[in-house]
């Protein structure tokens, strides 16, 4: 048997801020992938790790949790994974990652996991901090008391990793599993005896979890389930016993720690207290927070623009180059007008997305984000949200999809729902290219007072507009929404930590990759569809060229002028031209023509397609061989009715407002549907935001022109 290669399932579980993800990165290196848990859209990170010559571990990193009694969506994943454990292929061994400083609280989770009767290892992280914090542990005594393997590690210094691997292997082979706390003895022996008598297939604690959490394994038979549900009738008793259970667990833990763990209080530093005084200060706290926000936005506009311009130019060059070397024809057109601009349209976001995710990872890792939640909770509550809503609203400036998913740790459903509904108003990075090109077209490139760029100020205004609208919309929802829910709020204020460069790198890489692959597929597919719709049309389309040539045979047009005329006529008669023309009457009051109409239609899949489709439309329409950038093409577009530039100030402003408010992202709608489990809320977003966008743009255009 030893010669057969085997893969075992290992799950990492732990409180938030214990370095669980660092350990995961150390164990798996770059052999990671992000998938989804079946039925839910929480990211499931898995990776492989070689334990011995013939045994490999499939390691999964479960969301951080303080207990397996869930109060948020994130935490319920842990419970679901574990309750299905025995009958699924996950997990064979559980590694509970604990933080040496908060060992007592971490052991609560450990004691719960242990009672599931799955082979478990306790990994105590940050062992390198022991001396500095005056902590000493009697490791052998602790192993003895817990009756379990305990490994000291330091994920930051990569210490103890081999010991973890060895321990995983040993626990798997020994397959020892017994409970730490026998809940039946201490609380109500008769009650738990009856519960246990229902089935021997599950441990007592598993059965207890099923009734207290109303969560059952998928393959539990109906009869057992019926018997279990009877226990659920006395809700007050359940609650009381859960409280008793927790107290009992802490009593056991205290007894164990008294014998094995000591802290020399005199060694405790007051760095936390000093930093807290600054970061949560009445005035400096907010000043610092807004300073950090400004720094983030500044870096998105400024630092990202160099690599973005570079990517933009490279793709223009590539397109021109491909046009030359590929034989002329449909394939050439598809690649140079459809595929290459499509891929470029996705890749151009990488610098901005990466910078944003990096900043958010830094704020989270250092422990600063909890202080922001603390500072903002009261303010956000006035708008029906929670301090925890700040994180989604900031993440929303990168992309609404991870932002909506980041609302999962808000335990009040009402606060969470309002946050989900207003998050798409924040200026996501998909709006940035739209804003960037429109602002460049209609706002003069001048500086006020010598250093403030007018275009930069306009962009700042758009960001403020996004946040302000989100907050106002939240206030309206807070007044009108009839969703009743218990609100309970608690957040840990972790110790301040220097972030690990490695973790930041992993985090940034992974999130950026997920965005590019996820949103990228939609954008690329749409670019190709758009190209097709723009270069094909109903029957009359084929005769366009002939008609033009006949009509102009007497005039003295140069070849270039002629081919331009043909190309324009072709576009007008293509499928997409027809669609654009169909909606023209509706959007004319906003100042748009059918070409902009085409871009708006295509943006309903994803906003950033706006720039790409205008590029496609104008590159098909102008049929030029030069490498003009999209902006140059748009700037030279003329409104035939007024002989003025098409993208003048009123039109540009009206479009900016439209894109600020309209819900034009299919991917976000899909995520909101999955998170709220009904189409009701995404539809409300789509219609509400659409109506607001139309009316505001109408007003903007009519007032300005």
């Amino acid at each position: 048997m030893s010669s057969i290669n085997q893969t075992i399932q290992v799950a990492l579980i732990g409180n938030p801020n214990t370095g669980k993800t660092s350990l995961f990165n150390l164990l798996t290196g770059l052999n990671q992938k992000v998938g989804n848990y079946p039925g839910v859209t929480v990211d499931k990170k898995t990776g492989t790790c070689q334990l011995s010559n013939n045994i490999k571990a499939m390691v999964s990193d479960l969301p951080g949790t303080y207990s397996i009694n869930p109060t948020s969506v994130d935490e319920s994943i842990v419970l679901k994974t574990l309750l299905n454990a025995k009958h699924d292929k996950t997990p064979d061994v559980i590694v509970v990652v604990a933080d040496i400083e908060n060992l007592k609280r971490n052991l609560l989770l450990f004691s719960q996991i242990k009672d599931l009767e799955i082979p478990t290892i306790l990994a105590i992280n940050m062992a390198d901090q022991m001396k500095r914090k005056g902590i000493s542990i009697n490791l052998n005594a602790l192993k003895e008391e817990l009756g379990n393997e305990v490994v000291l590690i330091s994920a930051r210094k990569s210490e103890g990793i081999d010991n973890i691997k060895k321990a995983i292997l040993t626990s798997y082979q020994e397959a020892k599993a017994f409970p730490l706390c026998n809940i039946n003895h201490k609380i109500d022996a008769a009650y738990f005896q009856n519960l246990k008598a229902i089935t021997s297939e599950y441990s007592l604690y598993e059965l207890w979890l099923m009734i207290t959490q109303d969560s059952y394994p998928d393959n539990l038979n109906d009869e057992t389930k019926k018997k279990l549900i009877v226990f659920k009738n006395d809700v007050i008793k359940l609650k009381k016993y859960q409280h008793k259970e927790t107290i009992y667990r802490y009593q056991e833990i205290n007894t164990i720690l008294k014998k094995t763990y000591t802290v020399d209080q005199s060694k405790a530093t007051d760095l936390r207290a000093k930093l807290d005084k600054i970061f949560t200060h009445k005035i400096f706290g907010y000043v610092l927070f807004f300073g950090i926000l400004l720094l983030i936005f500044q870096s998105i506009f400024d630092w990202a623009s160099v690599p973005m311009d570079f990517i933009d130019a490279q793709f223009a060059n590539l397109s021109a180059y491909a046009k030359k070397i590929l034989p002329a024809g449909v394939v050439n057109d598809l690649i140079t007008d459809g595929v290459i601009p499509g891929i470029g349209g996705v890749l151009i976001f990488i610098p901005q997305i990466a910078i944003l995710f990096l900043f958010i990872a830094i704020l989270e890792e250092t422990g600063y984000m909890s202080r922001v939640v603390f500072l903002m909770d009261k303010i956000m509550r006035r708008f029906g949200m929670s301090g925890k809503s700040v994180i989604p609203l900031i993440s929303g400036t990168a992309c609404a999809i991870p932002a909506v998913m980041a609302t999962r740790n808000i335990s009040s459903w009402r606060e969470r729902l309002i946050t989900i509904l207003v998050t798409p108003f924040t200026t996501c990075s998909a709006r940035l290219p739209v804003y960037a090109i429109l602002i460049a077209l209609v706002v003069p490139n001048k500086k006020i007072a010598g250093f403030l760029s007018l275009q930069g100020l306009m962009l700042l205004f758009m960001y403020i507009l996004g946040f302000a609208t989100a907050v106002i919309a939240a206030a309206i929802l807070h007044k009108t929404l009839k969703v009743k829910t218990k609100t309970f709020f608690v957040i840990e204020m972790p110790d301040y930590k220097l972030p690990s460069i490695k973790n930041l790198g992993f985090e940034m890489l992974e999130k950026t990759k997920a965005f590019v692959l996820g949103a990228g597929k939609i954008i690329l597919a749409l670019s190709v569809v758009l190209w097709f719709l723009a270069s094909n049309g109903p029957k009359s389309y084929d005769n366009v060229e002939k008609t033009i040539l006949e009509n102009t045979s007497n005039t003295k047009l140069s070849d270039t002028e002629l081919s331009k005329k043909v190309a324009a006529a072709k576009l007008e008669n293509s499928y997409i031209g027809i669609m654009g023309k169909a909606i023209e009457p509706a959007i004319k009051p906003l100042g748009y023509d059918w070409k902009i109409g085409i871009a708006i239609i295509s943006s309903f899949a994803a906003r950033e397609v706006f720039v790409g489709s205008l590029a496609t439309i104008y590159s098909v329409g102008s049929d030029d061989e030069d490498t003009a950038t999209i902006k140059q093409r748009m700037a030279s577009e003329v409104n035939p009715e007024t002989e003025e530039r098409r993208f003048n100030f009123p039109v540009g402003m009206s479009l900016l407002i439209f894109y600020a408010f309209a819900m034009q992202c299919m991917a976000t709608l899909a995520i909101v549907k999955r998170e709220t489990k009904t189409w009701k809320w995404p539809l409300i977003q789509l219609i509400g935001m659409g109506a607001l966008a139309y009316l505001s743009s109408l007003l903007t255009y009519q007032v300005l022109s």
């Binding site: 303080y66 207990s67 009694n69 109060t71 400083e101 908060n102 007592k104 609280r105 609560l108 609650k239 009381k240 859960q242 409280h243 927790t246 107290i247 802490y250 936390r272 207290a273 807290d276 949560t280 200060h281 009445k282 706290g285 907010y286 909890s370 939640v373 603390f374 500072l375 909770d377 009261k378 303010i379 301090g387 335990s411 609100t487 309970f488 709020f489 608690v490 957040i491 840990e492 204020m493 972790p494 110790d495």
Partner: protein
């Protein structure tokens, strides 16, 4: 009777046994147990939430929750 919400910054109290059923399970699990020593570290600028330390856990909770949890034997640090 005093509650967590009536503590001043820096003051320490002990959670009253009778408050057990008023403590949300989650808070209990995070170490906020009857009999435990609890210290108020900081109050957010708009007087809410409260930043507490109990059983080695540093937590922020809202006043509405803090008002429900009674404390005894308040001492100044």
């Amino acid at each position: 009777m005093k509650t967590i919400a009536s503590l001043h910054i820096g003051e320490i109290g002990f959670i009253a046994e009778e408050s057990l059923s008023n403590i949300p399970l989650k808070l209990l699990e995070m170490g906020c147990l009857p009999g435990a020593e609890i210290k108020l570290i900081q109050i957010a600028p708009l007087n809410d939430p409260l930043y507490i330390c109990v059983n080695g856990s540093h937590l922020a909770i809202r006043k509405e929750t803090a008002r429900e949890i009674k404390i005894v034997d308040v001492l100044d640090e």
